[in-house]
């Protein structure tokens, strides 16, 4: 936005022909240049200091306190293993080649279940948001389901479907679909009416309006719903894996945790809990946070003055 002929004195006495186009173009280019804000991404070093250093410090602090508690012998060593013995559990599992297997069993289940929930939850959310009757009929139930702990679905799912993968997916769906649908509903409810009016005058009505205006406008709320949907998927899956034990189900992180309990191996329990936590955080950091930030940044919603 660099202009070559700005600073034409706007106070100069305008004759009748003063609105002549060249003059106006220069004036306008000057105004545009004066009023345009430039925004860019912060440098990498700043990102490191502001975003990476604080959580790293927190983790180190937790490890230090943990080790101090072990040294102080606040409780029996089988109740509180040292960080080093949890670490050797990691190394063991790694050298035996089972570590990635545990993780993959759970992660592949979780992601597939989440994708299924996405496919079901999205049209469901659209229906609830756009059709008054559907909203009145199932809207409250849908929000209510969010507060029902999905572990409650494990016993009925086992009875209905048996101890197999479909039972796991059923529990994931019951946990994640309401979050995704509700996220979309609240995203659509928060679309400014002005966008809908503008869309209608441009001819975006009905399905075209939904596709071109409503869905993109609701995207931030929808993404928040997806993020929560993933958290619920993961939680539901872990609940199902801890409760349902069967050779057919393989060894996921939940089963690893439960096996650690039956073996009275606290370091294995700690290992499982850590892995469950790390996977949950990693999926969020690698997929959802970048997606959310990209959407917000491109709409100018992350710009700080």
């Amino acid at each position: 936005m660099v202009s070559t002929e700005t600073e034409q004195n706007p106070g100069a006495k305008p004759g009748p022909a003063a609105a002549d186009t060249g003059d106006l173009a220069g004036l306008e280019a000057g105004l545009d240049a004066l009023e345009t804000r430039h925004t860019g991404r912060p440098p990498l070093s700043q990102t490191l200091v502001q975003k990476v250093l604080p959580p790293a410090t927190a983790i180190v602090l937790v490890l230090v306190v943990w080790q101090l508690l072990v040294w102080a012998k606040v409780t029996d060593s089988y109740k509180l293993p040292a960080p080093s013995s949890v670490w050797s559990e990691v190394e063991d599992s790694w050298t035996r080649g089972t570590l990635l297997g545990f993780i993959w069993t759970s992660v592949s289940r979780g992601l597939l279940g989440f994708l299924l929930a996405l496919v079901i939850g999205t049209p469901l959310g659209l229906l609830v948001a756009r059709v008054k009757f559907v909203r009145a009929a199932i809207g409250p139930i849908l929000s209510g389901l969010q507060s029902l702990p999905s572990v409650a679905w494990v016993p009925p799912a086992v009875i209905w479907l048996g101890l197999n993968d479909s039972m796991m997916y059923a529990v994931i769906l019951l946990g994640a679909v309401p979050s995704i649908a509700n996220g979309l509903v609240s995203g659509i409810d928060q679309v400014p009416p002005l966008f809908l009016r503008a869309g209608r005058t441009l001819g975006a009505t009905g399905l075209r309006g939904t596709w071109h205006i409503v869905m993109p406008a609701a995207l931030p709320g929808y993404l928040a719903g997806l993020k929560q949907g993933w958290a619920f998927s993961w939680r539901s899956l872990m609940a199902a894996e801890i409760i349902a034990q069967s050779p057919d189900l393989g060894m996921g992180l939940g089963q690893l945790l439960e096996a650690g309990r039956t073996n009275s191996s606290m370091s294995q329990v700690f290992l499982a809990i850590l892995l469950i936590l790390i996977v949950g955080i990693a999926i969020d950091l690698l997929i959802f946070s970048p997606l959310e930030r990209w959407v917000l940044r491109s709409r100018g919603l992350l710009v700080k003055n």
């Binding site: 022909a17 503008a198 975006a204």
Partner: protein, 262 residues
């Protein structure tokens, strides 16, 4: 009781108006009875004409514009327009998930312009509002005046014969507004589009219009009309503009004063 949209046969329309508003009334149900917002409005906008609708708060000028835009239906009377009118709001109403250029291309797409021609057409419209090179800019990267110019380009992308403007410059600073007045006059003369422009700013009304229509308030009725015979390009500080503005302001104040005399 209906809003009819005249279909142009082969792009030729023999109508002698861009919008015809005939005995239009609009009322809403309100606590304590019906609330009449517009009462028996009759008004024509000729092809290529620039008309400003002027009035104080509560005169229903935005309601009338919504009726002409087809966003709402009149309680009585008929409104007929040449095709679907384009509408510009006080807020730019650009979609923040699209770039400036893509906003215009969406309007083209919804109008049925084939994909191949859209980019080129959008660039040309941006050039018309002197924003060549802004195609890839995000809405939040543009200044208020630039946003309204993109909104104008998007409205023009509808290729409507009638452009409705609902106080489009009210939220801008005085310098930018002044420049946009010049721009709008230039573009109106270049495109020969008909404009129905709503404002509560008397000088703005006189600066821009060929005809100023004053609405009374509660209910809105056509109180008086002025034909503005001042040659374009005008400036808002021209003596002739000021003179007519004084006259219209007197009348407007009279209309407002009546409401305090109950």
């Amino acid at each position: 009781m209906a809003t009819t949209i005249a279909k142009a046969a082969d792009g030729v329309d023999a109508r002698d108006y861009a919008a015809r508003i005939t005995h239009v009334s609009k009322s809403f149900d309100a606590p304590g009875g019906r609330n009449t917002v517009l009462d028996d409005i009759t008004l024509d906008v000729a092809p290529g004409e620039f008309v400003t609708l002027l009035g104080a708060s509560g005169c229903g000028k935005s309601t009338l514009l919504n009726l002409v835009a087809g966003l709402d239906l009149p309680t009585a009377g008929t409104i007929s327009t040449q095709g679907r009118p384009a509408l510009m709001f006080q807020e730019h109403a650009l979609f923040p998930w699209l770039t400036a250029g893509k906003n215009i291309e969406l309007a083209l797409k919804l109008r049925g312009v084939p994909k191949a021609g859209r980019r080129q057409a959008a660039e040309e419209l941006l050039e018309l509002v002197r924003l060549a090179g802004a195609h890839g800019k995000r809405v939040h990267e543009l200044s208020g005046g630039m946003r309204q110019r993109v909104a104008l380009a998007r409205a023009l992308a509808q290729d409507s014969r009638l452009l409705l403007m609902d106080e489009p410059f009210a939220a801008l600073d005085a310098i930018t507004r002044d420049v946009l007045h010049d721009e709008l006059t230039r573009i109106w003369r270049e495109t020969q589009v008909s404009v129905l422009f709503v404002t509560h700013n008397v000088r703005e009304a006189v600066r821009l219009a060929q005809r100023v229509v004053l609405l009374s308030s509660r209910p809105g009725r056509v109180a008086r009309e002025w034909t503005v015979d001042i040659a374009q390009p005008r400036r808002i500080e021209d003596a002739a503009v000021a003179e007519l503005s004084v006259e219209i302001t007197e009348q407007l104040r009279g209309e407002i004063r009546r409401h305090g005399q109950h």
